[in-house]
Symmetry: C2
Subunit: 462 residues, 2 copies
């Protein structure tokens, strides 16, 4: 558009401008198409399961619509067979948890509401043709009002919202249709069986062909969030204590990864809600403690808030001069690095569903470094320095100390979860039980072996 | 259950225990019922619009089901009339935005997919009875796969997800049904008109009877979030600098209000998505800049992260001794109070949709106090104090300085939004235009008059 209104063409007539606009149209169309193609490709590459899901939906719908094409199948249900197709479209979701939740909600609600609807119809017909519509309308009104209100209960909303809607829907369908059609029982039965077929078809396709377990996604996401914080803390030391400004222009995206943790609460809650519907799969049992994932997630987020505060000192205008920062560089870097290692260790063992206390060693190390840092701050090194200039560095030190506390809490929560979900004990910790007094030693020893130690092989060439 | 397994009754037989369990059943039932009643009451009291919404749903469904009871209305549509009832159950949501979004999505998708379905049916019949099901199945498969994949595009997901589902649904319904029923056109027409009736009935009931505008909720929520931060900052000074521990046991809920701001992102985004569907209403035009609310919300959240950091110093184990804290008490309290006032002022004028720059005065005041604070920290007052003990207080001071920056950003975003949404200018600011150089003065003057100044009237009694 800018080309059209450029001063050069301002004077040309509307026809010329129109022509130019038309000429530019194919180009614009091309650009737009290219952009969409690029986005589509990215969407598929980011998560190839999306393509698989689309194909699964196509397959399930095509399969169920066979009911319509084959005479013998069609004869059983007639037009009601269409409900099976509709059910597949509605119920088949991306993850097994969501599909199971919707499918079970839909089947149960249809069953209960269908039965109630038949009952309401019978009751209404007893009262005579005149009063029948009034009674039916009253029933429908009461059921609709009560059920709609129940949908506001947070627990119901989280798990049974869809079922409640289908309950109203089926009740209306069965009881009201009964006024025109006396075969209410057949209708209710047909509706239920077609919905059963549709739901089962969705579930079979969803579970049997490349299933997407949302519980697994939640598990990975909680571990990944710890990893993101670890990445920040790993890079923080070097970034904060660097003397020159050389890498200021460089890509700092690795420092921004943690930001998605700050706003992950609602997606974690949704995932946990869906995960609770899922059957046992792989290492996750049916009664896997998904709620405890939310606790670990919340503690990780608390830690992310501290990291956010830490991050603000990286870009702050008021900076402690490099030479003053240099004095606390060693212990600060060590705290940050050990915290990062503890988080990485936790993320890695958590992802593998192992129970080790190997992170404890890194936490202990960071605590030792914290003591050093405190001692350093207590010395008279600072007498000559300006307090205002000291504040940012002091705040950074104080935040690092707090982060140790956060990570300890995460570690406890992860251990609790590991026990509740009976994660495997890591090989390294399978040692005879030791009295408490020397347990600390054992843990440190264990974690030393469990920790991924970089192997340096020095080959001396002659 | 605890009574049953108490040691005293451990020895009693299973029958006795069974009897006692049965005896306790009515009590438990009573307790449960009371609890549900209490929760229901609370749910209604917290937001009476929920009760109104439930009644609205009941009314709309009952109204639309009249189609079924009255002969002349029924004759027009026959069994298809049921689609109107189903549409009401599905489309009528709590807020106008959500209802409009769903209704328009449903109507448009039904129209387009119905037309395409008829076309697909015609094309398939041309190929002969044998190849018809193969062609139909191919069409259905392709449409289902492509549309399902399109649903993954974030922009589509946010606004047209429901429409995409209905598109697949209607396309299958029309094209597949056509195989058994040659009156495809009538079916498509009936489906569209019943859905039109259902959607319109939902919209009329939703908009005409106590409408819930989600845009208004978003507007209030953004203002309320600023207020929550202001409440914390107002109380923070007194809480942090209090000498004794007397109020430690007191209810500190007013200090925790800000926590909900930390996790408000997803609900704000949902509200903004729905709000964009809404018609103009009250002071909100049709093209109200709802997206800019998200920007203000994000900046408010950034400020909330700082407040979270501040809060951790209230409960920190390592505390600066009260006498050292006392030295920076006056400017710190002033910064915190002026920040709180600025936020309150913004929240209040924002809620009223006024454009004033009255918060600027408070920001300027807080900046002055910040200068004082910085000067105080530069003095030699601190020579004799321990740096480790100083750190928490110094960090608090530094955080307060950063919060000023955050609030300035919020103020700018609020002003931008005010301009884009053409908020009214407050009376106090309607003054002849002044040159830039003295604008600052004017603003301060304006805001002085706009600010709620406590009037002290001293009556001298004789």
């Amino acid at each position: 558009m800018e080309a059209v209104t450029s001063p050069q063409q301002e004077s040309s007539g509307p026809i010329t401008r129109g022509c130019q606009w038309l000429k530019s149209l194919p180009n614009k169309f091309c650009d737009k198409t290219m952009e969409i193609a690029r986005k589509t490709k990215k969407l598929g590459q980011d998560d190839p399961r999306r393509i698989v899901h689309a194909l699964k939906v196509g397959l399930a719908i095509t399969l169920v619509s066979l009911f319509y094409y084959f005479e013998p199948l069609y004869d059983g249900f007639g037009d009601s067979a269409m409900w099976a197709v509709l059910t597949v479209v509605i119920v088949l979701e991306f993850s097994v948890g969501a599909t199971l939740g919707k499918g079970l909600n839909r089947m149960l609600a249809t069953l209960v509401a269908g039965a109630l609807g038949v009952g309401a119809h019978r009751l209404a017909t007893l009262s005579g043709r005149q009063r029948e519509p009034i009674l039916l309308a009253t029933f429908v009104f009461i059921i609709a009002v009560v059920t709609t209100f129940i949908r506001f209960f947070p627990k119901v909303k989280a798990r049974y919202d869809y079922g409640m809607m289908i309950f109203i829907l089926t009740f209306c369908l069965v009881s009201v249709s009964g006024y025109r059609d006396d075969q209410v029982l057949e209708m209710a039965r047909d509706r239920f069986s077609t919905i059963l077929i549709g739901s089962c078809a969705s579930l079979i396709v969803c579970i049997c062909i490349f299933p997407v377990w949302i519980g697994e996604d939640l598990h990975k996401s909680v571990a990944a969030n710890m990893g993101k914080l670890a990445n920040f803390l790993e890079a923080f030391g070097d970034e904060y204590f660097k003397v020159s400004e050389e890498s200021n222009e460089n890509n700092k995206s690795y420092l921004q990864g943690y930001r998605s943790v700050l706003t992950s609460k609602s997606s974690e809650e949704t995932m946990a809600n869906f995960a609770r519907w899922e059957l046992g799969h792989g290492p996750f049992g049916y009664r896997h403690p998904w709620k405890m994932y939310l606790k670990v997630g919340n503690l990780t987020r608390d830690c992310a808030y501290k990291v956010e505060a830490l991050n603000s000192y990286l870009n702050s205008k008021i900076q402690t001069p490099a030479e003053i920062r240099g004095k606390i560089q060693v212990p600060c870097k060590r705290v940050s690095l050990e915290c990062s290692r503890a988080l990485k260790e936790m993320a890695s063992t958590f992802r593998k569903m192992l129970r080790t206390r190997s992170a404890v060693m890194h936490i202990e190390n960071s605590k030792k470094a914290a003591e050093e840092l405190k001692n350093l701050l207590k010395t008279s090194l600072w007498e000559e320095s300006d307090l205002v200039e000291m504040i940012p560095a002091a705040s950074v030190a104080s935040l690092l100390l707090e982060i140790i506390g956060c990570i300890e809490k995460i570690s406890e929560a992860v251990n609790e979860l590991g026990e509740a979900a009976s994660f495997r004990k890591s090989n390294a910790t399978v040692l005879p039980e030791q009295p408490d007094s020397i347990q600390q030693e054992t843990i440190q020893h264990d974690s030393n072996t469990a920790m991924p130690v970089p192997h340096c092989v020095i080959v001396v060439s002659e």
